[in-house]
Point group: C2
Chain length 209, copies 2
């Protein structure tokens, strides 16, 4: 029987991982589902069910004791593809791009940004230890087996996306404020500050269930 992880569960995994990393730093070895609830706000029973998807055969949790923080991080990292060390490229090295790049250097969590591209010739060279190429050289310098691109540009968006897909990119983290279309099989994960604020405003001002 093939286990299928639900969308909702999938979306919670990164939340757990973040919380667990924090706990690991604080030296915590075991964690209860009730403690994870306190930190994440996700119901403990939901957490327990989610975590059962992590291990194929044996379970990570021990009744009366909780989960091993270390093992849980391991399991989550595996399913989240962190261990794959996927090469990632960053398109656009403005303020936002730089912020992402900087963060990536500090915490080696998902894959690794192996190259950046910008339309400004002056930015060519290196930044936070990562090579910055001109966008015209994208095809020439594209890293082998790279499937993920972070898009932090504001111009020529669709054109850039098309070029990336031609190069085999399968996932795009989108910081753009522009709509673009992708081909079948290519995933887009939008990250939108304004949308986040709007959601927040809505939460504060309206009734929801």
């Amino acid at each position: 029987m093939e286990k299928v992880i639900s969308k909702a569960t999938m979306a919670r995994f990164p939340v757990y991982l973040k919380a667990l990393r924090q706990m690991q730093v604080e030296g915590k070895e075991n964690v209860l589902s009730s403690e994870l609830y306190e930190v994440t706000g996700i119901q403990d029973t939901t957490i327990r069910r989610d975590l059962t998807y992590l291990s194929k055969d044996e379970n990570f949790g021990k009744p009366g004791k909780g989960y091993s923080v270390k093992h849980l991080i391991g399991g989550l990292s595996e399913v989240l593809g962190v261990g794959l060390d996927s090469p990632i490229i960053l398109i656009g090295v403005g303020n936002l791009g730089s912020a992402i790049l900087k963060y990536n250097r500090w915490q080696y969590t998902v894959g690794k940004i192996v190259g950046c591209y910008d339309q400004d010739r002056n930015k060519e060279g290196e930044r936070f230890g990562v090579k910055v190429h001109h966008i015209d050289d994208l095809e020439k310098t594209f890293p082998k087996d790279c499937e993920i691109a972070i898009l932090a540009i504001s111009e020529n968006v669709q054109e850039t996306v098309d070029r990336l897909m031609d190069l085999g990119v399968k996932g795009i983290v989108d910081f753009t404020h522009t709509h673009f279309t992708v081909r079948e099989g290519v995933e887009v994960k939008p990250v939108d500050v304004v949308a986040a604020i709007q959601e927040l405003v809505l939460k504060i001002h309206t009734n929801t269930n």
Copy 2:
């Protein structure tokens, strides 16, 4: 009978608004639910249902014609609280903070960032037309009726959050990589780049329903 907007619907409103703004810029006057599907990937029937929550009495859509882009934006803006023009403050004017600030200047969509704070005295002054104060002056210079703060710092997070809540902040957009706790009634909306990438990787590599 009081209409209660479901969580899921609420989360989609900003998506619609973004798509509609784009359409408005392109000069589109009417839009079909099927067209919104093409752009957002959200099922047309789901879209139609969602949009019924917008208007109390009359409906925005016309059979055979579609929805008025203008009216829809109006309705969404209203329910999303965009019209409230909420004052927002930004804590942390590094690369990320600057990126947010810059974007906010360009597209006047949610409220307005009315002030920034940073721990670096050198940054005091003005940036993209917004005053930058030292974080020590937070209490002294805190804008009246401000309920929303964007957190783009990496140090003294919990301390800063506590101070913000003391000043009456009810919603926090969190770009921090640190866990912090908030009081009852305070909402936090995390925006996490790494989590976004992880979700993406997971989507690409695993089976989901």
